[in-house]
């Protein structure tokens, strides 16, 4: 009886396992499959996973089009600058929070936590006039600076947590040897926090790489567009080039997929920090 029950539980699990994989994986598989089709074959009835004209043509077309290559260059450049600046500015702020007591600490800390509840669309309208006034409209800096507002808080909260676990005796030892606080922070504390910084860096990269609303509104010309906006532009311009849009989607998702595959543990640690303590 118990053996039979166990068997049926196992059968149920296997059925759920497969249904779940179809639900989660089929859209991705279909995206991949359509990126290798000719455009005429996309809506072919009956649909096929691999068609007669299997080719890399859609990918080749993207690489041959400087306008589309530019979307990728922009996205990589902006995301990289955001990661570097977030870590640099965030680490400095975290050091202050972790090692000092000072006036206004509570207030600044509350402000940083509160950012996470501020909807980007609330800031969008004032950003438009601010960015225009600062003469940053349609530049990398328009995006880098506005992204920092949303990437810094997470970085500061996480890194402050890491630094709090490191004994103050470490900093003091450096200072007794004649080193400065600055040296203690960058030469001693930060190197031992590398695993945590990888999580933070990846989460930051993902935020910047995926951002859509500001990229849509604070840039204007095609040479300043990022991948998320660029994919959608393809839809407007060549309404029916589905195979190219799928190829661009695959290419646009690769950086995150690669990060996930190689750093799964850090990735998950970074992403779930909000809910799991």
């Amino acid at each position: 009886m118990i053996g039979k029950q166990k068997k049926s539980v196992k059968a149920l699990i296997i059925v759920l396992l497969i249904l779940g994989a179809i639900w989660a994986g089929f859209p991705v598989l279909w995206m991949l499959s359509n990126s290798f089709k000719s455009n005429a074959e996309i809506f072919e009835f009956p649909p096929k996973l691999v068609t007669a004209n299997f080719s890399f043509e859609a990918y080749a077309k993207i690489f041959q089009n400087p306008e589309q290559v530019r979307f990728f260059i922009n996205s990589y450049a902006i995301s990289a600058i955001v990661v570097v600046l977030t870590l640099f500015i965030g680490i400095m702020a975290s050091y202050a929070f972790s090692r000092f007591e000072f006036r206004g600490k509570g207030l600044i800390n509350t402000l940083i936590v509160a950012v996470q509840a501020v909807p980007p669309i609330t800031l969008l309208i004032p950003y438009l006039s601010l960015i225009v006034t600062l003469k940053l409209f349609n530049t990398y800096w328009a995006l880098v600076l506005t992204y920092l507002v949303f990437t810094l808080p997470y970085c500061i909260l996480m890194v402050t947590g890491y630094l709090n676990t490191m004994p103050r005796a470490l900093d003091e030892a450096v200072m007794i040897d004649g080193g400065s606080r600055w040296t203690a922070l960058w030469k001693i504390l930060i190197p031992s926090a590398i695993p945590g910084l990888i999580s933070v860096g990846m989460y930051t990269f993902m935020q910047a790489w995926n951002e859509y609303l500001f990229a849509l509104t604070l840039t204007k010309t095609n040479d300043m567009r990022t991948v998320p906006v660029g994919i959608n532009l393809l839809m407007g311009q060549h309404a029916y080039e589905w195979n190219q849009m799928m190829a661009m989607s695959v290419l646009g998702s690769l950086p995150i997929l690669v990060l996930f595959l190689f750093f799964q543990k850090y990735f998950i640690a970074g992403m779930t920090a909000g809910a799991v303590k």
Binding site: V9, L16, L17, G20, A21, W23, A24, G25, P27, W30, M31, F45, P46, P47, I89, A93, Y95, A96, F102, I108, L111, I112, V113, A114, A117, P119, P120, I121, T122, L123, L124, I125, P126, L128, S129, L145, T146, V149, L152, Y212, L213, T217, V227, P228, I231, N232, M235, M245, M246, S249, G252, S253, I256, F260, I268, M271, T272, A275, V276, K277
Partner: protein, 293 residues
């Protein structure tokens, strides 16, 4: 400079870049958006007139705004419920002892897939899947689920449900991974104790698993509420709020007021209302997180 003063100023030195950035790009813009909401029309109008709270009265009397609020609530509540159920089921499957570690690893990666894609990729992929000539309609006709092709995103009757479905697909992995981490943190002793008391699988789920996961589940619901409430990209790129206004939510309403109708003051008013709602949830979230510590 004397040493004492220098020591006092050191933390502010470390915080300077953060403070400058947050002043210019957070505090000032929030003051600006509140200010905008009190004028008849800004940016487009060179000499705006102060009108007090009358924009708020206008927004709250606008039936299109309340339609958007209704759609938003449907979108948010159905998404959260489905995220929770799917995330929980997948996490439980990935946590059973019936599967090998290797199998679990492979399926965990497959189930986490939607997490890897940005909103515009998800939007375009699903537009293709849900197209009247798309693969989903092929199966619908093949199994006679509907007498004719279903226009998921172009029909006023089901566009909102279709957009919600896409959001469900894109959002459950966060629940799954968080719940899985929570499940792995539950001590096996608790289950053994429950088993000794004669609890079956259902009772140990309701008696041990749910109470142990409670703090995580509450955090997830609050975070997801704030995120889904603000969801713009996915709706904008699948239906743009249409057909007509069938999928208009608060964020597409705000965006259209500002960037297609150039009613920046009305957009700002909507944006401030959204900010207030998110801030209230945010306060509960912070209190909940502090209570857990």
């Amino acid at each position: 400079m004397n040493a004492k003063l220098k020591k006092k100023l050191t933390p502010y030195g470390y915080l300077l870049p953060t403070i400058i950035l947050m002043m210019i790009l957070l505090v000032i813009p929030i003051v600006m958006v509140i200010d905008y909401s009190l004028y008849d029309n800004v940016i487009a109008n060179k000499n705006p007139v102060f009108v007090g709270l009358s924009n708020y009265a206008a927004v709250l009397k606008d039936s299109a705004f309340w339609t958007a609020v209704g759609h938003t609530l449907f979108f948010v509540i159905v998404s959260i419920a489905a995220h929770m159920i799917i995330g929980m089921v997948f996490a439980l499957i990935l946590n059973t002892r019936y599967l090998s570690t290797r199998t679990k690893g492979i399926f965990r990666a497959i189930y986490a897939l939607p997490w890897m894609f940005t909103a515009s990729v998800i939007a375009i992929t699903w537009r293709m899947l849900l197209d009247p000539n798309g693969v989903l309609n092929y199966f619908i006709l093949l199994f006679h689920l509907s007498p004719e092709k279903v226009t998921f995103l172009a029909s006023r009757d089901i566009a909102l449900q279709s957009v919600t479905l896409i959001n469900i697909w894109s959002g459950y992995p966060f629940y799954m991974i968080s719940i899985l981490a929570g499940l792995q943190g539950i001590s096996p002793d608790l289950y053994e104790a429950a088993a000794l008391d004669g609890a079956d699988a259902v009772h140990s789920f309701t008696g041990v698993t749910i109470p142990q996961l409670r703090p995580i589940l509450i955090s997830l619901i609050m975070l997801d509420f704030v995120w889904t409430l603000q969801q713009f990209a996915l709706i904008w790129m699948t239906t743009g709020g249409g057909p007509v206004n069938a999928t208009e939510t608060v964020s597409t309403w705000i965006y259209k007021q500002g960037f297609t109708k150039f009613q920046y003051s009305m957009a700002s008013t909507g944006a401030v209302i959204l900010l207030i709602v998110c801030t209230i949830i945010g306060i509960f979230y912070v209190r909940h997180q502090k209570a857990e510590e």
